[in-house]
C-alpha cells in the first residue's frame, strides 16, 4: 500500500478514481481466500451427491418417507428408548440414507458419535467407508478449516470485502454493456482485463446475490446486536420469530409412541408439501412431542413450516404460523444461497455461475500482477509475493481438492481414521505444491502446477475404475447418472487444467503497439 495519491491534500478526487483504487486492494487482499471459497462453495451445490460418490458401497434403495420414518423409529426405540430427543432426516431423491441424530439422556463420553446413517428400508445402520464426503468442501467454504469461530469471522470479512469490491467495481466501470461483448484474446494485460470484465458483468446479478445472501446465512453471528435492544431475553426473539413450540418436559410416565405413518400423511396435507424432517422429544414418555417439517424443494425459502403432534396420542397440536416479513425475507435469502429449492438443471446453472465467480476472482488476481509487471525490469517484492500466492491458490488449491477425492479411492475402505487422512491429503497436497513451485520460475511454475492439477483430476475416474465396480462403463450401463456425471465432470475439469497448462506454456504475447503507460488509467 504505497499511498496512491491518498495523501494528496486538497485535491478532490472523483468516486470512479477512488473506487478503482479500493477495488484493486479489496480484491487483492481478500481474493486468495475468496477464490477458495468460490470453488468449495460451488462444489457444495452437489454436497449430497459428492457424499454418495465417496461412499460407493451404498446403493440407492427406494423407500417412501413413511417407510423410512417407520424403520428409523423402530431402530431408535431399540437403541435409545430413554433419549431426550431424536432427529430423523428422511431420504429424498438426492440422498439414499435416513440420517438420524440422537440426544441421549446421559451422553456417553467414549461414544461421541450419535449421528448415524440408516438403511431406509430395514432401519439398520449402513456400513460404508468412513468419510466426511461433500461436507468437507461445504464446511471449508465458510469455516476455512480454522478453529471456531475464527474461520467464520474471516470468511465473513472476505465476503464483506467481496461486497465492497462488487460495488466499487460497478462504480469504476462506465461501459458495462460494451464490455459484455469485448474479449480480446492473447493481448496480455488487456485480455485479463477483458476476461475479468466479461466474467464479472456476465455473472453480476449472481455474484451480488450470492455475496449478500452468504452474509445473511451467518447473520445471527455477524449482526445479532439489534436483538439486544428489543428483547430483554435474546432467546425470545428466536422463539417468537420462528414460532418454535416451547419445550415440553418429560412426565416420567412411560407410554409408547403412536404410529408415525398417519402423522406424516396428516402433516403433508396440512403443510402442503412432502415431509423431510421428524423431531421427536421425549420418545417413550407420555409427554412426547413429534414435530414434522416440510421439505425445502419447491419452496425458495429455506424456512419451511412445521406441524407438531402429541407423541402419545397422535393429537394435532399446532402448525407454525406465517413468519414476519423480515424473517421470511431472510428465509428466502438463505434459500437462494443454498439452492435447496433447485432441481437438477437449476443446480447445474448455479454450479456454472459459481465457476464464473471463481473465474472473476482469479482473473482479477492475475490482472493485479499483470498490470504491475514491467517488461525487462526486475519485479519488486510485493509483486513476486502476489504472483506466488496466485499460483498457490489458483493452480495448487484445485489440485488439493482433487487429492481429497483421490484419497477417498486410494486409502483402503476399512482403514481406521481414514476420514481424517482424506482431509490431510487435501491440505498436504495444497501446501506442498504451494512450496515446491517456489523452486521454479513463475511461468514454469504455472505450467507445472496446472499440469499436476490436470493429472490429479483426470486420475479420479481412473482410481474409481481401479478400486470400485462403479466406474464409467458399468455406471453407464446401469443408468447411474450420478456416477457417470461425477466421473465425466472430473475428466472435464482435468481437461480444463490441461488446456490451462498448455496456454501458460506459450511464450508471452508481445504487448501491442501502445505503451503500458497509456493503458494505465483504464482501470485500477
Amino acid at each position: 500500500m504505497n499511498g496512491t495519491g491518498m495523501n494528496d491534500t486538497g485535491a478532490q478526487r472523483g468516486w470512479r478514481q477512488t473506487m478503482a483504487w479500493a477495488h484493486g486492494w479489496l480484491g487483492l487482499i481478500a481474493g486468495w481466500i475468496l477464490f477458495t471459497m468460490f470453488l468449495t462453495g460451488t462444489s457444495a451445490y452437489f454436497r449430497p451427491e459428492i457424499t454418495r460418490w465417496m461412499q460407493p458401497e451404498i446403493h440407492a434403495q427406494a423407500a417412501s418417507p413413511t417407510q423410512a420414518a417407520n424403520s428409523a423409529i423402530r431402530y431408535l426405540s431399540r437403541v435409545g428408548p430413554d433419549d431426550l430427543q431424536w432427529y430423523i432426516y428422511l431420504p429424498d431423491e438426492r440422498t439414499v440414507a435416513t440420517r438420524v441424530f440422537r440426544a441421549p439422556a446421559k451422553p456417553d463420553p467414549r461414544h461421541r458419535k450419535d449421528e448415524l446413517d440408516l438403511d431406509p428400508v430395514s432401519g439398520t445402520p449402513l456400513t460404508a467407508r468412513e468419510t466426511r464426503g461433500g461436507e468437507q468442501f461445504y464446511r471449508f467454504h465458510f469455516q476455512l478449516q480454522l478453529p471456531h469461530p475464527w474461520g467464520r469471522w474471516l470468511a465473513g470479512l472476505c465476503a464483506m470485502a467481496m461486497l465492497g469490491a462488487i460495488i466499487s467495481g460497478v462504480i469504476t466501470h462506465k461501459r458495462i454493456f460494451a464490455d459484455f461483448f469485448t474479449l480480446r484474446w492473447n493481448k496480455g494485460q488487456r485480455s485479463w482485463l477483458d476476461a475479468h470484465n466479461v466474467s464479472a458483468v456476465l455473472g453480476l446479478p449472481y455474484h451480488a446475490m450470492i455475496t449478500y445472501t452468504g452474509l445473511i446465512t451467518l447473520i445471527t453471528m455477524y449482526m445479532p446486536w439489534p436483538v439486544l435492544m428489543n428483547y430483554a431475553k435474546p432467546a425470545q426473539f428466536m422463539q417468537t420469530a420462528y414460532g418454535t413450540p416451547a419445550d415440553v418436559s418429560a412426565s416420567g410416565v412411560r407410554q409408547p409412541l403412536v404410529a408415525i405413518a398417519p402423522l406424516i400423511r396428516d402433516a403433508e396435507r396440512r403443510l402442503g408439501g412432502p415431509a423431510t424432517r421428524v423431531i421427536i422429544q421425549h420418545p417413550g414418555d407420555a409427554a412426547a412431542r413429534i414435530t414434522i417439517a416440510q421439505a425445502k424443494r419447491g419452496a425458495i425459502s429455506s424456512r419451511t413450516p412445521v406441524a407438531t403432534y402429541d407423541g402419545a396420542t397422535g393429537r394435532f397440536v399446532s402448525r407454525s404460523g406465517d413468519p414476519a416479513v423480515a424473517i421470511n425475507t431472510a428465509g428466502v435469502m438463505l434459500g437462494l444461497h443454498l439452492a435447496t429449492f433447485a432441481g437438477i438443471a437449476l443446480r447445474w446453472a448455479y454450479f456454472v455461475m459459481g465457476l464464473t465467480g471463481a473465474a472473476m476472482v482469479g482473473t482479477g488476481l492475475l490482472l493485479w500482477t499483470a498490470k504491475r509487471r514491467k517488461p525487462g525490469a526486475a519485479p519488486f517484492f510485493g509483486l513476486k509475493l502476489a504472483e506466488r500466492l496466485n499460483i498457490a491458490v489458483i493452480a495448487a488449491f484445485p489440485a488439493g481438492m482433487a487429492a481429497y477425492l483421490l484419497a477417498n479411492r486410494l486409502i483402503p475402505a476399512a482403514m481406521e481414521g481414514r476420514a481424517d487422512m482424506e482431509v490431510s491429503a487435501m491440505f498436504w497436497t495444497w501446501g506442498l505444491l504451494a512450496l515446491v513451485q517456489l523452486g521454479l520460475p513463475a511461468r514454469r511454475a504455472w505450467t507445472a502446477l496446472f499440469g499436476i492439477a490436470a493429472a490429479f483430476w483426470a486420475a479420479i475416474p481412473v482410481a474409481n475404475a481401479l478400486t470400485t465396480s462403479r466406474w464409467l462403463v458399468p455406471s453407464l450401463l446401469d443408468g447411474d447418472r450420478l456416477f457417470v456425471a461425477f466421473d465425466l465432470s472430473c475428466l472435464a475439469i482435468g481437461i480444463g487444467f490441461a488446456v490451462a497448462a498448455r496456454v501458460s506454456a506459450r511464450p508471452a504475447p508481445k504487448t501491442p503497439g501502445r505503451s503500458r503507460r497509456s493503458m494505465e488509467p483504464a482501470h485500477a
Binding site: 491518498m6 479500493a22 466499487s168 449482526m223 428489543n230 430483554a232 417468537t240 416479513v325 494505465e520 488509467p521
Partner: protein
C-alpha cells in the same frame, strides 16, 4: 495504479534535487503509512462499530406496537446492515480528509452508543 504515485515521486525527486534530505522524505512516507493504516482500520473496524450502533439504534426507535412489529423492527436493521457497512467502509476509502472520516465514523458510533445507553432495552 493511477497517476498519483508517479506524480508524488516526481515531487520527491525534485525535493531531493533541491537539497532536501532523504530523511524528510522517509519521514513523510512513514507518516503516510500510518495514515493509510488508520484509514483501513477506520473503514473495517470503525465501519463495523458504526454499522452495529446504527442497526441497534434503528431497531430500538422503529415503531413496534405489537409482537410481530417488534420482529420486523429487529429483523430489517439486521438484514440491511451489510449495505450500510459496505457504504460507510467505501466512503472511508474515498474521502480524502482523514480527520473527517474519523469524526464521522468513530464519533458517530460513540454518539449512537451513548443514545443506546440512554434509551435502554425496549420494555
Amino acid at each position: 495504479m493511477l497517476l498519483k504515485p508517479r506524480h508524488r515521486d516526481d515531487k520527491g525527486k525534485a525535493q531531493v534535487a533541491s537539497g532536501q534530505t532523504i530523511d524528510g522524505q522517509a519521514g513523510r512516507r512513514w507518516r503516510g503509512g500510518i495514515a493509510m493504516a488508520w484509514r483501513w482500520i477506520t473503514a473495517i473496524l470503525g465501519g463495523y462499530g458504526f454499522t452495529v450502533a446504527a442497526a441497534m439504534l434503528s431497531a430500538r426507535i422503529l415503531p413496534a406496537p405489537d409482537a410481530s412489529a417488534r420482529i420486523e423492527a429487529t429483523g430489517w436493521p439486521m438484514l440491511l446492515s451489510f449495505l450500510l457497512y459496505a457504504g460507510i467502509g467505501l466512503w472511508a476509502l474515498h474521502e480524502v480528509r482523514l480527520g473527517r472520516i474519523s469524526m464521522v465514523i468513530w464519533g458517530g458510533a460513540l454518539v449512537m452508543a451513548i443514545l443506546l445507553k440512554l434509551l435502554g432495552v425496549r420494555a
